[in-house]
């Protein structure tokens, strides 16, 4: 037995029991497709994609058949706002940190990934923090636990960048920031707007410099190539529609401000994140075409969250805004299904509308809906089996598939526990003994 593999397996405990590529049939399931209603039947997975969905799917020869035992299958949950799987969240020193990106610090071994999997999440938008008016670049990942960093990235997802409005980016403009240091501009919502405007003014000028260089070089002029500016490059991409803006925001006034700044500079805000007062300006959000990704019921933790209401998601949805629910939190990420259920309670969404908030809607917001977000033929086989209806607070995840591979299985998780614990105890005792042996009789180690 290869000891290294054994130990690696213990550390990262992926299920991956099923060889990728082989046909799998999940039968005897209550299938919640989210986009095409619900049915009792089977799902055929081939080459990691959903190949067939229906009441009567014939299992091809050699297919592995999983009997769901009448349990529920839904599309893998998509979290549109998370900070797991990264070793850095905020570059808080400057008010524009667009030169930074989460891709540089992705940690595929963060236990948060496994825990999110165990909560039915298969895809997440990993965002830079909210310390800056313009923050860093994000990545969209799949919870491919046990794979290396580049392999957990969802290939083909549109690049994006984080913006932040309101209290967070202006916090360091005040003396109560908790960081004993010089104050940082901005200190007000006016200043936040100013920083964004100035950054895009700079980005336009940078673009002009680049264009001018290209034109002159094309004419054969002898010109020194301009310096590449990693801070302004992503902003040029935003102006060119090649990079999504995911903007942290709370209050109606700042939401409207950002929409208008974007209108003026000719780009779109892809998603408004948190957007707790989005319900007040749903009309304007819809007209701009921004998506809204909000909490189910967070409120009152700061002044700008005092008008937050748990009806926000339902109300914005009813006013025609594309809405998702996100976690922004490694714990809440584990039960986004329960968060979705709250929008049935608060605002009376249907079950399918509620499920859409954590599946197809975030998929659309991230422009990955051709790949994920619903159970439809041709999409990635990212599926979750729950023992009860996923909107029930009693439901728990049994199995999770990504690209047709099983990445979480509750039974296996439970049976692995004793093995892991035994290994841990053994190593702990061994190392304690070694440390004691290394200590000289006097009890002090040589310096």
């Amino acid at each position: 037995m290869d000891r290294r593999k054994f130990i690696g397996g213990l550390l990262l405990a992926p299920v991956a029991a099923m060889a990728a590529g082989g046909d799998i049939v999940i039968r005897n399931a209550k299938i919640l497709t989210v986009t095409k209603g619900s049915l009792d039947g089977s799902i055929l997975i081939r080459n990691g994609k959903i190949a067939e969905v229906g009441p009567n799917v014939t299992a091809p020869a050699g297919a592995r058949v999983i009997d769901a035992g009448g349990q529920f299958v839904m599309p893998g949950i998509i979290d549109c706002h998370s900070h797991i799987a990264t070793e850095a969240v905020n570059e808080g020193s400057v008010s524009v940190s667009s030169m930074t990106g989460i891709e540089d610090t992705v940690n595929p071994e963060d236990i948060g990934i496994y825990r999110a999997l165990a909560g039915g999440v298969t895809t997440a938008n990993i965002l830079h923090g909210s310390a800056n008016a313009i923050g860093g670049k994000n990545v969209v990942i799949k919870m491919r636990w046990g794979k290396d960093a580049p392999e957990i990235l969802l290939d083909g997802a549109m690049p994006g960048i984080k913006f932040a409005l309101g209290e967070n980016p202006k916090r360091r403009g005040g003396s109560d920031s908790g960081i004993a240091t010089r104050l940082r501009y901005p200190a007000t919502r006016m200043g936040v707007e100013d920083v964004i405007r100035e950054a895009f003014t700079d980005a336009r000028a940078y673009k002009a410099t680049l264009d001018d260089y290209k034109a002159r070089a094309a004419k054969g002029e002898r010109v020194i190539p301009p310096r590449r500016d990693l801070k302004l490059e992503p902003l040029v991409e935003v102006l060119e529609g090649k990079r999504f803006v995911h903007a942290h925001c709370y209050r109606a006034d700042e939401i409207l401000m950002l929409l208008r700044v974007a209108d003026e500079f000719g780009f779109k805000i892809r998603t408004l994140q948190h957007v707790l007062e989005g319900y007040k300006v749903a009309k304007e959000i819809k007209e701009h075409g921004a998506g809204a990704s909000t909490f189910s019921d967070w409120w009152s933790y700061k002044v700008e969250a005092y008008d937050a209401i748990p009806y926000n998601a339902a109300l914005m949805h009813k006013k025609g805004v594309l809405v998702s629910l996100n976690s922004d939190d490694a714990e809440m990420m584990r039960h986004l299904n329960q968060e979705a259920a709250k929008s049935v309670r608060y605002g009376g969404l249907t079950d399918d509308e509620a499920l859409a908030l954590i599946t197809i809607n975030p998929a659309k917001q991230l422009a990955i809906d051709s790949r994920v977000g619903s159970i439809e033929v041709g999409k990635d086989a990212d599926l979750v089996i729950y023992d009860k209806h996923p909107l029930s607070n009693y439901a728990k995840v049994q199995k999770v598939f990504i690209d047709g591979e099983m990445y979480f299985e509750r039974d296996k998780d439970m049976s692995d526990r004793a093995v892991r614990e035994a290994r841990r105890k053994q190593l702990m005792e061994k190392q304690k003994a070694a440390a004691t042996a290394a200590r000289p009789a006097g009890g002090r180690r040589p310096q």
């Binding site: 850095a88 990106g101 860093g136 240091t181 190539p225 590449r228 190593l427």
Partner: protein, 448 residues
Amino acid sequence: MKRRHLLLAAAGAFAYGQSGSPGLYAIQNATIHTAAGPAIANGTIVVRNGLIEAVGANVAVPAGAWAIDGKGMHVYPGLIDSLSRWGLPAPVDGPPRIVVAAPTGGGGRRGGGDEGPSNVQFQDDGGPEERPSNTSWVKAADLVQPNDASLAAARNAGFTTAVVFPATGIFAGQGSVLNLSGGKAGDMVVSSPVGQFLSMAAVRNGLASFPGSLMGSFAYIRQIYLDAEQYKTAKAMYAQNARGLQRPAYDRALEGVLESPRALLPAGRKVEIDRMIRFGKELKTPVILYGGTEAWRAADSLKAAGVPLLMNLRWPERDRDGDPDVMDSLRTLETREMAPAGPAVLAKAGVKFAFYSGGLERPADVRRAVKKAVDAGLAKEDALRALTISAAQIYGVDDRLGSLEPGKIGNLFVTDGDWLAEKTQVKMVFVDGKKFEPTAGGQTNGPA
């Protein structure tokens, strides 16, 4: 203080050894471990005017040579600490900090002037352009203090060479291959510069100044390398024909980067090793990784990328001041358990790696640490290579250092047994062909 006196006494003894040096030595009847082939039993090695002249089983002792009977002795190439701070002045607490701030009373691009408190200082957007935490132009060769006690202590243990780097800041500066020969600093330099030492030291800098995060450090380093490339182009164009061109502004931070033939990047865990391999490709400069705690999991990545690794000999161990009731995580325990097996795994996979002392203060600890790797499966020859020829190869100085071959620099040490055995004593050390003898009191400074 007591310890310092002992070290000075030891230094005195070497001076005595040097004074009798005839410049021509022959060690006979010794077991010679060349690091270039199998060990030679009853061999002879001749060192003349600082260089190895001959080595083999049937080598004649030249006339006029100081002949040394090596019966029962072992001769090894001088050890190389592949990433060292020996000989450099102690770092000042904390890295140099360059905080960009508007002048008192606001000012700057975003000047104040409204009803706000007039004496408030606030920070403008200081980014990579301000070159924070950057002393890329500094070279170890210019900083080394030849009389530093650590050099003598290391030499006593068989080290003849150290690749010394400034280590403060993100762009800490350039390393130099130094022979531990004492004398003038200039005489010590074998090769310089050999690389730029990079750290991701953001957090030490405090979160409030750029870069204040790991992410920021990546962005910063990336921008500097891009700037350096553009700077190089601009300078070349301007040098070729200045007419009609804007004069590129002199930038010492970029000069330092351009002078450095390779970059050293920190990488301990597997995730970091994989990440830095990718980052190195992006920087378009040859890289060396240092750290290697989880090298046992990353041999495949390193092999595929052809990236060399400097392994820290300071193996992870249980916190001495940790909470006894808290059980360490399985991940931590596995890392501690497996880290010393890393070198064996790398050797088997054919990854180029060398050892470095990593802050182990006593050379005896270095030997013990190497022994741990050997106990975990590393062949003794590979252990020796990791402190000699492999280090030389990684820095491109294997034409002159790292093995006992004719024409190479006369760096070697002589012991009365297998150098890894606990009781073995270093009898003689040759640096640049000069003989040093550790004091009779033992090869290391005594206990404090």
